[in-house]
Amino acid sequence: MRHYFTILSHEVRTLLYSSSTYIAAVLFLGVMGFVFAGILELYAKAPQETSPAVVFFQLFWFPVFFMVPLLTMKSFAEERRLGTLETLLTAPVSTTEVVLGKFSAAYLFYMLLWGSTLGFHYLLKVYARDARFLDPAPLIGGYLFIALSGLLFIALGILASALTRNQAVAGILCFTCLLGLIGGFSYLGELSALNAEGLQPIKNAVESLRIPAHMEDFTHGVIDTRQVFFYFTGAILTLLLSILGVEAKILNS
């Protein structure tokens, strides 16, 4: 693992040089700013039952759909297109180090961008002059959820990028996987075909994999170890598949 930090710093530098990082950052902060302003307007009109932080995190999936592909699509696809993957892997480094280095760099940026939205809540606190508007509990839960689910989302993006040499294909593949992961389980859970008596366990399993429901739990202060386990094992499995994907691509070429 001694090359991990060399690769990580190289990847962070590459992300800083890449235009798609800045597009992701501007789009993300723009969209989240509008969402936050919209929430404040809603709260100004009528009293609400939940804290603004809870509503803020309900729309977490929207920036994820474009931000994760933009941050990860370049990682392997671009190296493969340029041919630099060959020079990288003929240095005395293992594929695991390369995959982990690229994953960590993208995850770092992902968390950095989400972390910058803390500023919104701080501004609210400063201008509202009322500590009650900044309820720390849902915020902690929400950011914890973002950090955990981000592991899986970024790993999916790395996997998509490891499977192709075309950045656009990697981006679209990643978007599709995220759509299936975030929206797919909610859709499956509502299928009437699963309402039959014998299929109840499957329905329960699908229900418990609904990612928006996890988010609700986290922001309400319920931290379920099953969900934590789901994101950790999901991320590890996806990263293992990415390592295999990079190596299998070499074998078949």
């Binding site: 190289h10 530098r13 590459t14 340029l82 041919g83 060959e86 020079t87 003929t90 240095a91 070499i250």
Partner: protein
């Protein structure tokens, strides 16, 4: 790190050992039972037409591609089971020399040096050294994507020799360079002789002839000829030819030649000019030089001689003859169908 340094001091006399290597891409056999060895400090040239298996062989040597069967040992270590250890002994420059586009030359060399486990203090001095060697000092802060082809190629070479590996593998290092840069690269490779084993592949035959101690000619994934350029000439052609300009009795010329040396014969007799001199090509299988004999005996036989030139087959002729011979050799048992043409290597 200590272990790595220990390995460097114990480099065996044979640095590359390839035996019975086979690599197939689906139904296509790229490398077919290839065996060769490279000694320490030797410069070996890999020659072959497109799709002969040169790049595939090099990729297997670096541990980037796995072979189907056979074994490769770098500095005595098997590549298949100890890939990371063997990669420490190799400096590799792939075909077309891919470089990240948005890094500076010195940043790139620093990153590569760190990946190759060079200590920071040593790396700084070594980067200066290789930049000097490769004549890149003025370009050290320039961005790789904006460098000219020749400069990029030199960055690739600088990167390959950066960690002072025992084995350097370069896939077409002089492709796309101008004659001046080719001479620089050639001198650079020649300066590695004795210290590092170098394998280069090239289409530019005079390059190989000028720099390499030994040449391997590969066709269809097999070695069709190997040896020093001089040995190859003898092996492939087995004869020497002389070009002479003479005047005299044409009809009896061939008969007179056999009296000089039994193996001499006339290959071609060209047009005779108005002053009576004809150009002829003589062929002999005699190992010794017959030049002096010809100069003495032809005038003695009543022929006037005004030019004598011993023509050496160029490596180009050797290459064409060797690769043609290997194609001919496979013809009787295997018909070449239109679909049998060798595909270029797939990109990764």
């Amino acid at each position: 790190m200590l272990r790595a340094i220990d390995c460097m001091t114990e480099i065996p006399d044979i640095t590359i050992e390839v035996s019975h290597l086979v690599k197939t891409y689906g139904s296509l056999t790229a490398v077919d039972d290839l065996s060769f060895t490279v000694k320490r400090g030797e410069i070996v040239g890999l020659l072959g037409p497109n799709g002969a298996g040169k790049s595939t062989t090099m990729r297997i040597l670096t541990g980037y591609l796995p072979a189907n069967s056979g074994s490769v040992k770098i500095c005595g270590l098997p590549v298949a089971s100890q890939a990371e250890a063997t990669k420490r002994h190799i400096g590799y420059m792939p075909e077309n020399n891919p470089l990240p586009e948005d890094m500076r030359v010195s940043e790139y060399l620093w990153f590569r040096g760190r990946l190759k486990e060079m200590p920071r203090a040593k790396l700084r001095a070594r980067i200066d050294e290789v930049l000097e060697l490769c004549d890149l000092k003025r370009n050290r802060h320039r961005i790789l994507g904006r460098l000219s082809k020749g400069n990029k190629q030199r960055v690739g070479i600088a990167e390959a020799i950066l960690a002072e590996p025992a084995v350097i593998i370069m896939d077409e290092p002089t492709i796309g360079l101008d004659p001046h840069q080719i001479i620089i690269v050639r001198d650079l490779i020649a300066s590695l002789r004795g210290r590092m084993s170098v394998i280069i592949s090239s289409h530019i035959l005079p390059e190989i002839e000028a720099t390499c101690d030994r040449v391997l000619i590969i066709n269809g994934g097999r070695i069709v000829a190997q040896g020093s350029p001089a040995e190859l000439r003898r092996e492939i052609f087995g004869h020497t030819s002389y070009r002479i300009e003479f005047a005299g009795h044409n009809a009896a010329f061939a008969a007179h030649l056999t009296t000089i040396d039994a193996s001499l014969s006339v290959a071609t007799v060209g047009d005779c000019s108005s002053d009576g001199f004809c150009v002829a090509t003589l062929v002999t299988t005699a190992p010794e030089d017959l030049g002096e004999k010809l100069l003495q005996k032809l005038p003695a036989g009543g022929y006037r001689l005004r030019a004598l030139h011993r023509t050496q087959p160029s490596l180009e002729d050797v290459f064409l003859a060797a690769t043609r011979r290997s194609w001919d050799a496979r013809l009787p048992d295997q018909k070449v169908s239109p679909g049998d043409q060798r595909q270029p290597l797939p990109k990764i």
